[in-house]
């Protein structure tokens, strides 16, 4: 699984670039790199459904980002200012928090099952029933639309909500005065 680690390192590097670079367009493109490496990692972890969705969603996300940036500005002017005491303080506090979080998570992650050995308590039943009772070849489809169809209704509703939300926020006039 060496390619997985390489991709993880690439995505972490691209993530840092996306956060720190001054040009917002480059930042959006770096975000795209993270997204595509995530998609490839989905393929490596045997999740082709996710990879397809991740790729198309990533394209769309980057298009939306670029659309917004082109309409506004592509220079992150906040990076031009000199850092003051407060900024250093925030960064210091964050560093402390980050180290604490990392250590705590290392302790916690040790208790999880080893990478590559899931317990699959419910999933083993899904794999049998999904094939024999629902008669779907794609087990992910069986899970999202039959066993957990209600979640998918929720998911579709979330998308609906955000579409209506975007349309609401992009109205020209809100209040009648």
């Amino acid at each position: 699984m060496i390619e997985l680690y390489i991709l993880l390192i690439i995505s972490i590097g691209a993530g840092i670039v996306a956060v720190e670079i001054k040009d917002l367009l480059a930042s959006a493109i770096s975000l795209g790199i993270v997204g595509f490496s995530v998609a490839i990692m989905f393929i490596l972890t045997q999740a082709p459904d996710l990879a397809i969705v991740q790729i198309v969603v990533e394209v769309l996300t980057v298009v939306i980002f670029v659309g917004v940036i082109l309409k506004t500005t592509h220079i992150d002017t906040t990076l031009e200012d000199k850092l003051n005491v407060r900024d250093y303080l925030t960064k210091g506090i964050f560093a402390l928090f980050g180290i604490f979080f990392l250590l705590f998570s290392i302790l916690a992650l040790k208790e999880l099952p080893q990478f590559g050995m899931p317990i699959m308590k419910i999933a083993s039943h899904y794999l049998v029933k999904g094939f024999e009772e629902i008669r779907a070849a794609n087990q992910v489809a069986a899970v999202i639309l039959d066993f957990r169809g209600y979640d998918t209704l929720g998911e579709a509703t979330v998308l609906f909500t955000s579409v209506i939300g975007v349309l609401t926020i992009l109205r020209k006039i809100g209040k009648i005065k």
Partner: protein
């Protein structure tokens, strides 16, 4: 956009659209499904707008239609679930005959749900795109 982009887009859009439909209808057999296919279909519309530019009237029509289709998609998904409640007395009950595995018409309500989600997602994402990226925004300095 240049004539090359326009010509290639003309050829590609149909193919992408068909591919989206394939992904949606074969969601229970192969990777993909309503969501992935829906995004692909909306991508074909988006490509069309990016290549040919858009006029305000066309955008407005696209806007209205996409919001109608989105509601219809969501509504039909909900109705499939409610039919389960009516016919099988359980919400989301898979009330259709399951058929044979590996066939296009199999696994009960799953293909129908996929189609409903596909309609909804493609229309919804297209509406988001129109609203955010394509409308000439009120930004006159």
């Amino acid at each position: 956009m240049t004539i090359i982009v326009k010509t290639i887009t003309k050829i590609l859009v149909g193919l992408i659209f068909l591919y989206g439909i394939y992904i949606i209808t074969h969601g229970h057999l192969t990777p993909g499904g309503g969501f992935a296919g829906g995004v692909i279909i909306s991508a074909s519309f988006i490509l069309l707008i990016l290549a040919f530019g858009s006029e305000e009237i066309k955008e407005k029509i696209g806007y209205i239609y996409s919001s109608i289709f989105e509601s219809i998609g969501g509504l039909s998904f909900l109705l499939i679930a409610l039919f389960g409640l009516i016919l099988g007395s359980y919400f989301f009950y898979n009330f259709l005959p399951k058929g044979k595995v590996f066939m296009l018409f199999s696994s009960g309500i799953i293909p129908l749900c996929n189609i409903a989600i596909g309609i909804k997602v493609s229309a919804g994402l297209f509406a988001i795109f129109l609203a955010i990226a394509a409308t000439r925004f009120i930004m006159k300095e």
